[in-house]
Amino acid sequence: MVFFILNISFGSVSIPAAEILKNLSGLPTENETWTYIITQYRLPKAITAVLVGSGLSVCGLFMQTLFRNPMAGPYVLGISSGAGLGVALLIMGTSILGGKYLILGNNQIATVIAGILGALVILITVMTVSAYIKNTMALLIIGLMFGSFTAAIISILSYFSSAQNLQQYMFWSFGSLGNTGWTTLPILSGIYFLCLLWAIPNVKSLNALLLGENYAKSLGLSIPFTRNQILMITGILTGVITAFAGPIAFVGLAVPHIAKMLLQTSDHRVLFPAVLLMGAVIMLICDTISQVPNAAFVLPINAITSMFGAPVVIWLLLKKRKLS
């Protein structure tokens, strides 16, 4: 909550925290412009940060258990790239067909669907490949290859598309939490809450999966059923988040590890709420940093999450040499 207020408080126009509390509780503030900034821009952005951070972190946690792989996460395995490809195909595809495309506005629903479809395609591909290749490193490389492959297709597409549409895509790919307004936030939060509700009954199954698939089977768990459910949840959640906020790096990978280290447990009944909370907090912090208090510009959110996430991954590799 503190981070939430702090996040709203910082930006190119600095607003005192007391005024924000006043505004949020429905009291009039000293300055009309502040009210407008808070309700129309900063509040939806802060809510988006909470949804994006916690959502991606939960996806990371689920995928790490499902793949039995500490390096699994929505971004590293190329799921975000998949969503990016879906969006790129949509934006630049319309451009090639001679149309103009704007991410914001009514087209956002199409963007979301394209993002989810792209994410699911890559997710299923990675899942199929991982059934044959059990090696951690191989899976990572495959994820990287999907990333390069996506980048290649996108550069081909961008060659043929108009400058305006290309710019649209570039802005999207930097990642931004500010693309959501009051009209689109209900879509994001609606899908987010549905996915979380869907995830709750799977928490127990994820605990059983800690022992490995064969032991989980001996405990009466249906592996294909559980696997498909978790894939669907992570695919849809990553897809929808990426479509709205762009590919956000490392949050999904790093937050579950931080939670596991701090709480010293693998029990998903503890980790699930912990990861939700920590993901939200870390995303709010990253977003606050990206706004550079009192400066007139905003850094891309992806730059901040990478700066925080990449060292976490290196630290993990150093701490636990054995990652298989």
Binding site: L211, N214, K217, S218, K260, T265, K320
Partner: protein
């Protein structure tokens, strides 16, 4: 040993093997097997004879090619997986890669088939876990992290986990592999004690023939001709043990329960 007459698990004309497209490759045909409460049963056989496939078929993970498997009166294939999990617990050869679980948490996962959708441990679940920890002498280690344990301790934890699942039948696939001789004997003793004290049926596959012959209540001898079952004394007396391996290479000495390299093969070296 009560209720000797009703087997916990039985098979009639069971044929096991693999089916690839329409080609069936048989591993063993027409097996009539029975498992009773209070018995430690050791499955012996050389590498590749199909011990693991048999165990996987009996637990219902691998489909049989023909024949029936019954748990008490009901057919195994008619029972839901969750219900089977309340009847059969397993210990597998694979090691669980659990970085952050404590011994207690790992053992508590055995209660999965009994707990509600959230996996909340009730008083009864905790009682079963405590009893299993106590029976396997792990009460002092219960708060240790699993990855800090030695191989011997880890194997005991996995046996404890199967025990806490509170099933009539526990099946273990080579539980003594990777262990030194002392831990091998300790494991065999523990399993025998659990079978007798708690009136459970424990079926294990093993390569420790000498140990199995000394400690098992029943031996299942798996060879190309099928499975001979019986008490160790009976199988030794009828010269079945010698059939496990190629006779030209190995000779089984009945009197001191030892395998020797046969004289002919030494001469040919």
């Amino acid at each position: 040993m009560t209720q000797k007459n009703v087997p916990i698990l039985s098979s009639k004309k069971l044929t096991i093997g693999y089916k690839k497209k329409s080609v069936k490759s048989f591993i063993a045909k027409d097996l009539d097997l029975e498992l009773f409460a209070g018995e430690l049963v050791c499955l012996l056989g050389k590498n590749g004879i199909g011990k693991s496939t048999l165990l996987r078929t009996l637990t219902g993970v691998h489909p049989p090619l023909a024949g029936d498997i019954r748990l008490k009166d009901s057919l195994l294939q008619d029972i839901t997986r969750q219900h089977v999990a309340q009847k059969i617990a397993v210990v597998l050869t694979e090691k669980p890669e659990t970085s952050n679980l404590s011994v207690y948490e790992l053992v508590a996962l055995s209660r999965h088939p009994y707990t509600n959708w959230m996996g909340t441990l009730k008083k009864e679940d905790k009682k079963e876990i405590d009893l299993a920890l106590q029976k396997t002498d792990l009460t002092d280690l219960q708060h240790r992290k699993v990855d800090e344990l030695s191989d011997g301790q880890l194997q005991r934890v996995m046996i404890c986990r199967a025990l806490a699942q509170n099933t009539e039948l526990i099946i273990l696939d080579e539980p003594t592999a990777h262990l030194d001789i002392q831990h091998k004997i300790e494991t065999f003793h523990l399993l025998k004690k659990l079978a007798h004290d708690l009136d459970k049926c424990i079926l294990i596959s093993t390569h420790e023939i000498q140990l199995a012959l000394q400690i098992a209540d029943v031996i299942w001898l798996m060879s190309e001709q099928g499975i001979y079952s019986g008490s160790p004394e009976k199988l030794i007396e009828k010269d079945h043990i010698g059939r496990l391996f190629d006779n030209t290479l190995i000779h089984f000495d009945k009197n001191n329960l030892q395998f020797h390299i046969s004289d002919t093969s030494v001469k040919n070296m």
